[in-house]
Amino acid sequence: MSLLTDDQKMLKETAANFLAEEGSIAKQLRHWRDINCRDGFGHGLWKQFAELGLNGICIPESHGGMGLGAVEAALVLEEIGRNLTPSPFLGSAVVGASAIQGTKHADRWYPGILSGEAVLAFAVDEGPRHAPEQTALEARRQGNGFVLSGAKQFVVQGGSADMIVTAARTTGSPGERDGLTLFAVPKDAAGLAVDNLSMVDSSKAARLAFDNVALDADAVIGEVDNGWQPLQRALNAGGAGASAELVGVASGASTMTLDYLKQRKQFGKLIGEFQALQHRAAHLYAEIEIARAAAFKAAALLDSGDERAELFVSVAKAKAATAASLAVSEGVQMHGGIGMTDEHDIALFMKREAVLGELFGDVYYHRERVAQLSGY
C-alpha cells in the first residue's frame, strides 16, 4: 500500500473529526489529569469509540468486528496522537485484540471491546527496558492449572483493565524465546497486587506483583510454551500502532509550532521569517513525512503477512520515535518561555512522546533489532 482506498480515507476523516471534537486536549487529557482520574481516560469516550465502530477494526467480521487491519488502526492512532487523546484503543482494540485473536478468549472478550465496556492490558516488561525474551515471571504447573509468581511493570492501563494478557515463563530460562506462555489474568485474581501509577504524561501504567496467582488451564492463550509467536504478533501490532500514534504526536506538535511561528513577533518580525527557524522547520517536516511513510509501510506489511513486516515495524518505531522526539523538542524550543509553562499545550506532546517512545521498545531497542534482522 502506499495510497489510501476510498474506505480508508473515509475512516480517517471520521476518526479525525471525532477525535478533534471529542478527544481534544481540553476535553480529555487535561480534564482527566486535572481531576486526578484513576483511569486517566474517560469511559464515555471509549463507548463513543465503540459506537463509531472503531473498536472493531482489528476484530474479525465473524466476531462482529470490521475485519480490517493495522493500516486502518494506524489511521485512527495517528489522529489519537495528534490530539493526545487518552483511550484504551491501542491497548485493548489493537494489542489486546491481537493477542487473543483466534483463541477462545476472543469469544469472551471481543464483545466487551466492541461495546466499549471492557478494557484489556498487556503485561510483558519486567525491567525498566523492553526485553520480551528476558521474561522471567514464573508459571509453574499445579494440578490442572498454573501458579504465577513474579512481577511486571509498565503495564499500560493495568489498573483499569478487566483482563491482563500476561507473558510468563513455563519452561526454559530468561533470554530464551521458547518456553513462554501467554495467560489471560482476570483483574480480581487472588494474589495479584496492582500498583496503579501515573506516568509523566498523566497516562496510567501499573506495576503488578504476582504472589502465587492460581489460574485454570483455561487461562492459557494459545499453546503452552509456544507463546513467542502470539507475543510477537501482539508486540508487532503494538509497535506499528505506537509508531502511527507517534507520527500523530509529531504532526500535532509541528502544526502547533508552525502556527506559533506565524503569529509570534520579535524584532518587529514574525519569527517564522527567520531562516534559522525555517530550515529547522523544513527539516522537521521531512522527518515527519518519512516517519509516516515508514509507519504505514510497517502496517501494510503486517496486513499482507509479508516476511519483512518485523523489520519494518522496528524501522517504523525507531524512525517515528526519533522524528517525534525532534518535533516535540523543537516545538518547546521554538515556543520559547511559554513552551515551558503548564498552561500551554506544547509540552504535553513532549510528555506523551516520552511514554510512547518507550512503549514496546525504544529507539535503541529497535535499532538493535534492525541490525540483527539485517544480519550484522
Partner: protein
C-alpha cells in the same frame, strides 16, 4: 486482474528468456551502465544484446507510443514491467537523458516530424544527449540565463556558455535553453536541439574532487542551428524546461527505491568490530529503510497526482543528505583501506571516490538550503521565505 496477470506472466517469461545472466548482476559502478550513442562501445556482448532485444520490443521507452519506437504500454503495464525487471535484478538496458528527460518533453511539445525523427533513435540508444541548462551566472536562478540565439533568417546563431553540462564531452546532441528575447526573463527563453559536432561547439571537462569528470563547461561560438530544431514555440521554452524538470523530479522520486530490499550495503565491512560504529550503521539503516518507504509512497502519490508541487524538494533534500551519510559510514567502515586511491583491491579507490562525489549531491540540482527554503515557503507557508 486476470488480463493483468497474463501480462505479468508473459513479461516474466520473456525477461527470463531474453535478459542475459550478466545483465542481472548488480550495477557496481558507472562503467556498468549503458549510455548508448554514436560513439558508444559496449562493455560486453551481453550489454549490447540486452539493449537490442529491449529496444526491439519497445521496452526502452515502455509507455511511449509504438509509432515512435516505444512499447505502447499502459502506466499499469509499465509498472508491472518495472517490477518484473526488479524481481530478477535486471539492469536498465539503457541509461539515457533522452529517455528520461527529453523524450517526454518531445512527446508533449514536439512536432510530428520531430517525434518521428528523434524518438525512435532515442529509444534505440542511437543518440546520447546532454542538457544545456546552467550557466556560470545562472545556477539556482536558472531563468537568468544569457546564452543567446539570434534569428539569422534560415537558422539560429547561438553564442554563450553553459556549465555543469553532464557528459557534454560524450554526448551526440544537446537540448539547450537559450535566450531569444531580452524583453522578458522567463518569456524570452527557447528550447533548442542541436548536434554537438556542429562547428563552434566545444567542451571542456571539469575535474571534480573525486577524480572524475562527469560535467563539462560547454562553449558556443557562432553555432548555426537549423530553424526546425526548436521544440515548442519561440520564447516559450521555459514551459518545456519546466515540464522536463518535472520528469527529472520523477526520477528523484525513484531514487531511494534501490535500497528498499537491503541494508546500508557496506559489503563485507557490514559487520564492524566496533560496536559504536555498528550502532551508527543501524541508525542509518533505520533512516534508509524509512526513506525507501517514503520513496515508494511518493512514487505512488506522484502517479495519482496527489503530490504537493514542492514535495520533490523534500525528497531531494532527504535523499541526498542520506546518501552523503551512507558514504561517510562506508568510509568509516572501510578504515584505511577506504582511503586507497588507485589500488586494485580498492577498485581504484571506489569508496573514497564515491564519498567525495556524494558531497555534490546536496549542491547539484538545487542545494539542500534551497530545497529547505522551498519547503518552508511553499509547503509550510512560513512568511517571507
Amino acid at each position: 486482474m486476470t488480463e493483468f496477470d497474463g501480462f505479468r506472466s508473459d513479461t516474466r517469461a520473456w525477461l527470463e528468456a531474453n535478459c542475459p545472466a550478466k545483465m542481472r548482476k548488480p550495477i557496481r559502478s558507472e562503467a556498468d551502465l549503458c549510455w548508448g550513442g554514436r560513439n558508444w562501445s559496449f562493455q560486453s556482448d551481453a550489454q549490447q544484446r540486452w539493449l537490442e532485444v529491449m529496444a526491439e520490443r519497445g521496452w526502452t521507452g515502455p509507455d511511449w507510443p509504438t509509432d515512435y519506437g516505444g512499447g505502447g504500454l499502459s502506466a499499469a503495464e509499465a509498472r508491472v514491467l518495472k517490477e518484473e525487471m526488479q524481481r530478477i535484478g535486471a539492469r536498465p538496458p539503457l541509461t539515457s537523458f533522452g529517455i528520461s528527460m527529453l523524450g517526454p518533453a518531445l512527446l508533449k511539445f514536439g512536432t510530428e516530424e520531430q517525434k518521428k525523427h528523434y524518438l525512435p533513435k532515442i529509444a534505440r540508444g542511437q543518440i546520447r544527449w546532454c542538457q544545456g541548462y546552467s550557466e556560470p551566472g545562472a545556477g539556482s536562478d536558472l531563468a537568468g540565463l544569457q546564452t543567446k540565439a539570434d534569428d539569422a533568417g534560415d537558422h539560429w546563431l547561438v553564442n554563450g556558455q553553459k556549465v555543469w553540462t553532464s557528459y557534454a564531452d560524450k554526448a551526440d546532441w544537446i537540448f539547450c535553453l537559450v535566450r531569444t528575447s531580452s524583453k522578458s526573463k522567463q518569456g524570452g527563453i527557447s528550447f533548442l536541439l542541436f548536434d554537438m559536432t556542429t562547428p563552434g561547439v566545444s567542451t571542456k571537462p571539469i575535474l571534480l574532487i573525486s577524480g572524475s569528470s562527469p560535467f563539462c563547461e560547454t562553449f558556443f561560438d557562432d553555432v548555426k542551428v537549423p530553424k526546425d530544431q526548436i521544440v515548442g514555440e519561440v520564447n516559450k521554452g521555459w514551459d518545456v524546461a519546466k515540464y522536463l524538470l518535472g520528469h527529472e523530479r520523477e526520477m528523484i522520486a525513484g531514487m531511494g527505491l534501490g535500497t528498499s530490499g537491503s541494508s546500508v550495503m557496506l559489503g563485507p565491512a557490514a559487520r564492524p568490530a566496533d560496536p559504536s560504529l555498528r550502532t551508527e550503521i543501524a541508525a542509518f539503516d533505520v533512516d534508509a529503510l524509512a526513506f525507501a518507504a517514503m520513496s515508494e509512497r511518493f512514487a505512488a502519490m506522484w502517479k495519482a497526482g496527489e503530490v504537493h508541487p514542492a514535495s520533490p524538494s523534500m525528497m531531494k533534500y532527504a535523499g541526498t543528505e542520506l546518501n552523503k551519510r551512507r558514504n561517510q559510514l562506508a568510509m568509516a567502515a572501510g578504515g584505511s583501506e577506504a582511503l586507497e586511491w588507485d589500488s586494485e583491491r580498492s577498485r581504484n579507490g571506489a569508496t573514497a571516490r564515491s564519498w567525495l562525489r556524494s558531497k555534490g549531491n546536496s549542491i547539484e540540482g538545487g542545494t539542500s538550503e534551497i530545497q529547505l527554503n522551498i519547503v518552508a515557503k511553499h509547503i509550510l507557508g512560513l512568511p517571507g521565505a
